[in-house]
Amino acid sequence: MAPAAHALKITFDEADHRLRMSGPLDIHQLAQARQVLQKLQQKQVQLASADLRGVTALDTAGALFLLRWLRDIPMEFGDAAHQTLVQHIGSLELPQPKHSPAPRHDMRAALVSIGRWVDARRVDARDILTFTGKALVLLSRSARQPGGIRYGAVCQHIYAIGVSALPIIGLMAFLISIVLAYQGIAQLRPYGGEQFTVNLVALSILREMGVLLTAIMVAGRSGSAFTAEIGVMKAREEVDALQVMGLEPFAMLVTPRILAIIIALPLLTFYADLMGMFGGYIIIHSLIGISLEQYLDRIHAAVSLGDLFAGMIKAPVFAFFIGVVGCMHGLRVSGSAESIGYETTAAVVKSIFLVLVLDAFFSIFFEQVGL
């Protein structure tokens, strides 16, 4: 092919008002062609005819261009296929593109969107309550008929939630106790009370940090996994398949997961407590030279069984709600792959938020009962 064939040339003959085009008229030449024609239009020249015999290639974009700009004048084609194409495109019903009006930012729109948001939260609250109720009914049924529990599935989930999370939970508790010990020593040293760092670390790990951080980690790790797993099953109609086989999806998918997380999270919490105290010992020992006997002695004096209990009692409650929120969002998936991502995000945010709210309530409750 000659190099000249790669560029579009448009010339206008003033003598006979004839427009000549040569070269390819395709989507890549369109911007240039538009500019030439716009200039001619500005000069208000009268076009009488168009000579397109030199056009080497014409695509649908080029054909649409010819129809927009040269519809009213006779066009002479060199290639019969080009003429057919222009006729075909001309025969399509093409609407004028509508310019969508810019979104209005007025008071009403703002109020409407606030209202929508509040309504969505109301639906959320109702769904969580309904789902909690259902889950409680099924759990109590499991308690009355332990034979109906799917132990295989429960064990599998305990492994996924608990055993495989041991390294990350242990590391997290260890690191958090280092942070606490450092801060404690730095704050208490001016008063000569750096010995009390042990009390600080042990109490805050046992009562709050151990269970709270473990719950947040599990919400991010396993709550999201619940949503994604159940969501994919929902999107692929596997949930419907269970239903038509007469197997209740709720009992098959939700109950084992919630049972497993209720068992796994307290165990993980206890493990995190131990790792936290161990981390606390390492750092306090290296900073203020306290021995293991002294460390254990101080813990014994500072901490009662009630402190351990105050932390551990929260774990199954957090676990239940993480499970409920994760499974609920999984079953909310509507079929598109996009909604799985959306629901997973919502589940993680909501379960962590719920954990923090519940923790605040527990603090108030323990204060009231003097635990």
Partner: protein, 260 residues
């Protein structure tokens, strides 16, 4: 031009594909002629999809090469490829986060400097080409039915007026009426735009009705011919495939249609 024949738009030369021990293609050679509609058939596991992926450059063969207009596939830039190939994937593969119009204009946005309103006009024209209503432009892929997804994906495949249109089971999962309409649409596009069509299909009606030639993948080789000649072929799989009750019905239906 380095091609011996100018009418060969894409040429698969001595392709070999292996997956572990399993050899899918052994010295497969296939020439695709400019302007034809060619159907690719074969039993499941015969390597239809792998052949399609090899042609598209999504899969690198263990041996052999693919020539597009005489040039090796590997030597072409992404920009060249975007203008040469349009692909309709089996599930449509519309980008789920973009509406139909943005799906169609995405390659235009990337490869041309046309103003937005012109791109929008072009998108509406592509939709009209695949016989869809302009209202569809603002819909999200999740809101479309199976047949509409295929059409919208076809409109996107046509965005840059490709020289070759690859269709992966275009009529699979469509009801017979929609499938017939889709076949007619493909033939119309082939006739009016002059686009070469390569389709992997199991739809005997499409094979009989619109394909100029059929390539059959059997025994790791490809046998390509016009359909009437293929039906004479003595290979047992081909005999079974083209002489089963469904094939006979498709041939009879096509003959009846031609009489009309």
């Amino acid at each position: 031009m380095s091609t011996p024949r100018d009418d060969i738009i894409l040429s698969v030369q001595h392709i070999e594909n292996r997956f572990g021990e399993q050899r899918v293609h052994d010295d497969v050679t296939l020439d695709i002629r400019r302007g034809e509609i060619i159907g690719i058939v074969g039993g499941s596991g015969a390597g239809k999809s792998v052949l399609l992926k090899t042609m598209l450059g999504l899969h690198t063969p263990n041996a052999g090469e693919v020539l597009v207009q005489g040039k090796p596939l590997a030597s072409l830039t992404p920009r060249d490829l975007a203008g040469l190939f349009g692909v309709l994937f089996q599930q449509g593969a519309l980008f789920s986060s973009l509406n139909v119009e943005r799906n169609i204009t995405l390659p235009m946005r990337e490869y041309t400097d046309l103003p937005d309103d012109v791109q929008q006009q072009l998108a509406l024209m592509k939709l009209a080409l695949v016989e869809m209503k302009p209202e569809v432009a603002q819909k999200m892929p999740a809101e479309l039915s199976g047949g509409m997804i295929k059409r919208a994906a076809l409109a996107r495949a046509l965005a840059l007026d490709p020289a070759i249109l690859f269709l992966d089971e275009p009529t699979a999962g469509l009801d017979p009426l929609t499938a017939d309409a889709f076949d007619t649409l493909i033939r119309t596009l082939n006739e009016t735009l002059g686009v070469t069509v390569v389709m992997v299909t199991h739809d005997l009606d499409s094979l009989v009705g619109i394909c100029h030639r059929v390539a059959v993948l059997v025994d790791r080789k490809v046998i390509v011919d016009r359909l009437p000649n293929l039906m004479e072929n003595k290979h047992p799989w081909i005999q079974e495939y083209f002489h089963g009750p469904r094939a006979r019905a498709a041939v009879a239906a096509s003959a009846a249609r031609q009489k009309e």
